[in-house]
């Protein structure tokens, strides 16, 4: 990789505490919608699956902020 790469319009999930992402990865449904963990607190969401992930998060009792 010679030049930096700008990833534009990337669907991601960001959590305040790493354990929240750990918990989601433990959940089969949510895990299937997460692709790449970029850090303890950030992961890439599968394309076109953000709404499915939102529905799952609400089911799990989270109230995520959605940034469009």
């Amino acid at each position: 990789m010679t030049k930096p790469i700008l990833h534009e319009n990337l669907p991601i999930i960001e959590v305040a505490e790493a354990y929240l992402l750990d918990m989601l990865i433990e959940d089969k449904v949510a895990a299937s919608l997460l692709l790449t963990r970029l850090s303890d607190q950030v992961a890439v969401v599968a394309p076109a699956k953000l709404d499915t992930l939102l529905a799952r998060l609400l089911q799990l009792g989270h109230t995520p902020k959605v940034v469009r």
């Binding site: 990789m1 010679t2 030049k3 930096p4 790469i5 700008l6 990833h7 534009e8 319009n9 990337l10 669907p11 991601i12 999930i13 960001e14 959590v15 305040a16 505490e17 929240l20 299937s32 692709l35 790449t36 970029l38 850090s39 303890d40 607190q41 950030v42 890439v44 969401v45 599968a46 394309p47 953000l50 992930l53 939102l54 998060l57 989270h62 109230t63 995520p64 902020k65 959605v66 940034v67 469009r68």
Partner: protein, 740 residues
Amino acid sequence: MSNLSRRFDPYLPLVNADKLKKMGRTYGGDSKMRKQECVDFLLAALADPELLSQAIENLEPFEQLSLALVKQMGGAADYQAVGIGVLASGINISIRMRRFNFFDELATHLVERGILLNEGYSVGSFYAGHSRVKLFSDPRLLAHVGAPQVEPAELRAAPTPAVTHVRMPPTVVLELIGFLQTLDSMGGLGLTQKGELRVNDVRKFQKALQWSTEDWEIDGLVFKDATNALIHALRHSDFLEFAANVLVLKSPVETVAERDYADQVSMLVNGFLRVSEWTESQTKRWSYSSSNYPQGRAALLMALTSLPLDTDEFYTIDALDTLLFDRIGEHFSLEGSVHRYISTYQKTPDEIRQMEAEWLAEKREKWLKQERQWIEDALSSWLYFLGMVELGIAGKRPVAFRLTELGKAVLHPAKAIPVTTAATPAGDHASGVWVVQPNFDVMVYLDRTTPPQLAFLERHAERTQSQQYMAHYRLTRDSVYQGLERGTTLDAFLEELGRHAQTPLPQNVTVEIREWAALRDQVILHHRADLLEFADPAARDAMLTTSLDGRAVGDRYLLLASTATQRQRLPKSVGAVERLNYAQPLPKILRADETGGLQLKGAAIDLLIEAQLDHWADRTKDGQWQLTPATVGECIKAGGRINELIDLLTARLAHKLPPLLELALRNWSGRRTKSAELERFVVLRCDDDDGLHAILTSKRLKPYLRGTHEDNLVLFAPEHIEEVQEILRWAGIELTELRL
């Protein structure tokens, strides 16, 4: 419902020249113009808003009223409905029209004035015959037309009844919002190919609203077949529009809820004006004509519109009935068209007057049995339900009525009659409109609320109960979350909640709401984040010290603050970058062979592909994967679909997906290609036609023959190769080794 008005453009060339000349005069046209000149002139006039406005201003009041009625009915209306509306308004008709042929003469006049056109093949030359012809107008013309203006009626006031019933505007509107929310959550009401409401959708709608399919009793008043009435009124209202054969909301519920009470209710009133699928009559007769219900409602509304505005007097329903009969009795019946068979042949004027009086008395007698009851039913059903009238009750029956503020505001939109109370000044809790309790319940005084206040509560709280003067809401974590997700900030929400509260917000409520709001920051979903990826942590960290607005993610990434400028232009210090846009198809950087081997080729690898391939295949080396029956089978077992993998490969491969690999993937996923059969044969090729014929027809060779292929290949059973060779050699055929 869709707008029924139509532009005149395609119809004008069909109108004959004489009529066009008459039409042109309304817009200042010259009667010497030729046909095409008339058409061009009218088209130019219709495209000139100033000229249209002037032309409408110059129309006679009854002509303006006719246009207003057509507009109210959606842009097109039965010609008799227009006539009935005009008569019911009490407005003076300046031109002479024959009583027995009133509807036809009015329609002919309006068409010749160029403000309405008739449907049918004789467009521009009105002729109804026995059919119910519709009149329509051009939307550009209707845009300049206001609400119907009527002649004030002189009705004697009645004493204020001892018992009255009225519905508060917020109560009405809350129910209306409930209908719309339910319809929205259902995704609309489907229509059949014939344009009728889908029975299943109607049932679902009724069930969701817990509507009884029978008659409703509201404050002791019967609303016959209310479910049917409301569904059809909604269907014909301007709340809804068609989208792929489904009736859906034109605007979001929140937007509707913020409109004036009168605006919201008038949309449903207009819906009722267009309903022919339902009648108010509690004693409906088979002979009633469904197309006359909208006419009757238009007439009733005209009569109500003509009541004095500057008084709160009650009127008896009998007085209203008399007024309506005086205005339309000669021309209207729920049973259909009214025909007067009075032969004037060899009759003196006195005899004719006598016959007419007898005919009218007979008509009145019938009217009292039918239409009088229908007026009472209309007042006590939808007009009461919509909060348009307050009813005086005697012995469970409505006997008197008066227009409510809401009713006056709906019928006289141009007069801007206030229905709502003024918004609560900041900090003035004594006159607040709700009380927030420590258990998160919100008690709302409906007689003090404004539409924006109700819309605010609908957006941020769950409605649990609604009565005549009070509504109950509950603040929940979910309702507050939904409100904040729609764009309200926490501070604005608390400020608005507190501003209209009669007492300061309980501390525990404020604290809890703040905690709920804070939970939103625990998990954030970014639909379109921008992320810079660097080769190593040092390069990324160096960039953090520049003017780049963002924060570090992991070792090598920088999550950019989403600003439009930053999105378009990165600081020079970043240097040249590779761009990968996830909103568009990503580069084709993958190669695959027939064995299922996959390899990434490319400088800029996106953040999806490796994880996606890890899911379906074994990683063999850096940048290389192997698809196997086991890896694919495992994913399918875990709920994956083979088309997801095939779509992924199709989207990302730099070449076409090898068909054998696709076949294998599908078969590994469980779909078996029909099994193929394999057998060994000895193949004989013979290019001599006579020789081939002899071999194929030989009785000696037949037991060993297994078939033929193409024109010159013969298949023999391999276990009999020696017998075949012997026979062929015997026949003098020289055998050489075959190479296919």
